[in-house]
Symmetry: C2
Subunit: 425 residues, 2 copies
């Protein structure tokens, strides 16, 4: 029963049925939040033991004499650089482990380029026009950073293989005002896809017009598998070395969704040439990161059998939520021509494309019935989805039963929105 094939009379009947269900939902007084990629309390409990790793009886002095309580060690604990470097696919010596937020490290990297620039270019703040590529749908906070710094945000379509590389190559090759591109290469936010090998190789082989063009490779979900058939991402570091483009990418990751979102450990990585610029920035910015929290992470993650083991425990909590949402979407929406959605092998999001022109209305209806979703349009530059179609669904935060309720409500609201739209036309 495709909605588009229904007569106006049939649609009106349907609308009345949906409205009745909606009123019943509203009467339940739901108060659920599926807006952000936020781990649930149950997930956070997985890392509670981390808090016992350093206590008053611990040894906080490393074998080399470094007292983790005191100042210093701007690059972070060497062993932590190794652990996160391995996770990111980078040599430890090219990794800087920082504070609790990889977003902060990305922001600082852009800020550093704004005020000081990169080899071959001038400070970006002195560029009259500066532009940044934003594969969309994408991560709103990425886009926000470059919007804050006055970049023109240029939408690049997202394909099942990653950003449309024909578009990327053409733009980057021809326009020296384009200084970078935001990428979430594995389990992309929000579409959940992983860049294909060809996409990664084409990134590594880019020939940008701007000598100071950089790929901001936010590998936020690099170990966040949810199924027995996880995606595999080609290593951009290796590919860039092969392609003779080692300075092209800057890598980011964190333990925010491995341990604690608010008290995790973030890392960045880059070539020696790039690190020379960023290390100078950090040299003036701080006397060093919180090494105790790094030590806490190191001891805990080793104790639980490493990052992969910890991620298995995370998966056990998250995967059923994704499965539940997909099952409900399948039951409620399949064959109706109302929406298409992704079935990711990992990450934090399901991306839904409702009938164009219906995303805002769907989100508003959900809100009315007590379920907060990411604002429609948030996944596009300037919060403007040209199709008004994409909605990011984040199933991790509420408990499973609530996720189910929310998913059902979502399906109802999407159908209502499409009904309305069809009746208008």
């Amino acid at each position: 029963m495709e909605f588009g094939k229904l007569s106006k009379t049939e649609l009106k009947t349907l609308q009345a049925q949906l409205a009745k269900k909606f009123d019943a939902c509203k009467a339940m007084g739901l108060k659920l939040n599926m807006a952000r990629g936020k781990p649930s309390a149950e997930q956070l409990d997985l890392s509670l033991d981390m808090l016992d790793q350093i206590t008053s009886r611990s040894n906080v002095v490393l074998p080399d004499g470094t007292d983790c309580r005191n100042y210093g060690l701007a690059d972070g604990l060497p062993e932590m650089r190794g652990m996160l470097g391995k996770m990111m696919g980078l040599p430890a010596e090219n990794v800087i482990v920082g504070g609790n937020s990889s977003l902060n490290m990305m922001f600082d990297a852009i800020s550093c380029c704004m005020t000081h620039g990169l080899p071959g270019g001038k400070p970006w703040c002195l560029e009259e026009h500066r532009k940044f590529l934003c594969p969309s749908p994408g991560y709103d906070r990425h886009f926000g950073v470059t919007e804050y710094f006055g970049f023109e945000l240029i939408t690049v379509p997202m394909l099942p293989t990653g950003p449309d590389m024909d578009v990327v190559e053409k733009l980057v090759f021809s326009d020296p005002d384009i200084k970078g591109i935001w990428c979430v290469p594995k389990y992309s936010n929000p579409t959940g896809i992983t860049y294909s090998d060809e996409t990664v190789r084409r990134f590594a082989a880019l020939k940008p017009a701007a000598p100071d063009f950089r790929i901001f490779w936010d590998n936020a979900y690099c170990v966040h598998d949810l199924t027995d058939t996880p995606d595999h991402l080609l290593n951009l570091w290796d590919e860039c070395q092969k392609a003779g483009n080692p300075d092209l990418p800057v890598f980011f990751a964190s333990t925010s969704k491995i341990t604690f979102p608010g008290a995790g450990v973030a890392a960045m990585g880059a070539s020696d040439n790039n690190l020379q610029v960023f290390r100078k920035h950090y040299k003036y910015q701080t006397i060093g990161p919180d090494k105790l929290n790094q030590l806490r992470h190191l001891l805990f993650l080793k104790k639980v059998g490493g990052i992969p083991a910890q991620m298995c425990r995370q998966r056990a909590i998250i995967a059923p939520k994704f499965e539940a949402v997909e099952q409900i979407f399948e039951q409620e929406l399949a064959g109706k021509g109302v929406a298409a959605w992704t079935k990711p092998n990992g990450g934090y999001f399901i991306s839904v494309d409702v009938t164009p022109g219906c995303a805002k209305r769907t989100v508003a209806l959900c809100k009315e019935a007590g379920v907060t979703l990411t604002g429609a349009g948030a996944t596009f530059p300037y919060h403007k989805d040209p199709q008004d179609s994409n909605i990011r669904v984040a199933p991790t935060y509420p408990p499973l039963e609530e996720v189910k309720q929310a998913a059902k409500l979502f399906c109802l609201c999407a159908q209502m929105a499409v009904c309305e739209k069809l009746l208008e036309s």
Copy 2:
């Protein structure tokens, strides 16, 4: 026996005696560091209990439902904002509690002004000439931040009452390129003096030519008293309110020298107008600070009876080191016309002015015998002390006995340097 009054022959005899002692010192193979204002291991042990405040059995969820492990709360824990606000003399609602480094917050504040500017001005990066006032001797890392951002650093003489306000007022009033001034108002780094009431009032009453001029008030040693007659600093926040200049200052402080230097909690404070600018910056930069470490601090500091009680315990360790250095300086240097030094009531430094032209040589001799001091000149813009006279002595880090050894060596080296100088002339 003033060195300046000795004959060349007498100086040569003296020089030979000093050289003999110096060789004996060198033979001891010392390896001491008095370069940085760094707490000792003994001081760090005072806060070890902090690590037991949050463990796997703790409640990490605040009464209002905030889970300290998760994302959010960009301004920091409300109760921590209150505690640090009280310490800084600011209302809690005008305080942002951040990560582990107040230097980082200062850097970010300057960086924010560079790229985005303040009300009434344009982004500082677009100012052709930008200048910053640096009361000297002062804190090298302050000067470094503004040097990194391309400011011309203008030296302002430090008096026993604080920066020479005649100079400050005249410069700030007449030159719109001057965007700010660095201040360590209590137990100043390195002179140890506290700004007089008049100085604070004159700061509050400044009429800068630049509408976006700001006072960077780094109250790093606000509770770091070392004697029974602590200095009292007038509250600049209050004075600025009275003077109708609430937007003039930006305040900074941290627990780096209250708990752990590498894993403390930093804070900044400012008027609503200023915070509007900085909060926007933080909104894009991070999803929130490490609230677990803030909670850890809150619980620990309350448990030990508050910040003042904790500082009494710090004083018990540090004060004897300051007393020892002062006593040795008195014994070895008094009446010789070789050096003058400060006797601070708090803070982390003793500032020594050796005979002009002798600072670098003194530091080099100390180094030769195994004692690392802050580089001569470091306390001035561009690391250039026009007199080559000032040396910052930081007695906190080594154990007491080593501090004594280092102080004795320092006296020896200062005398040697002055001897050489006099024999040259």
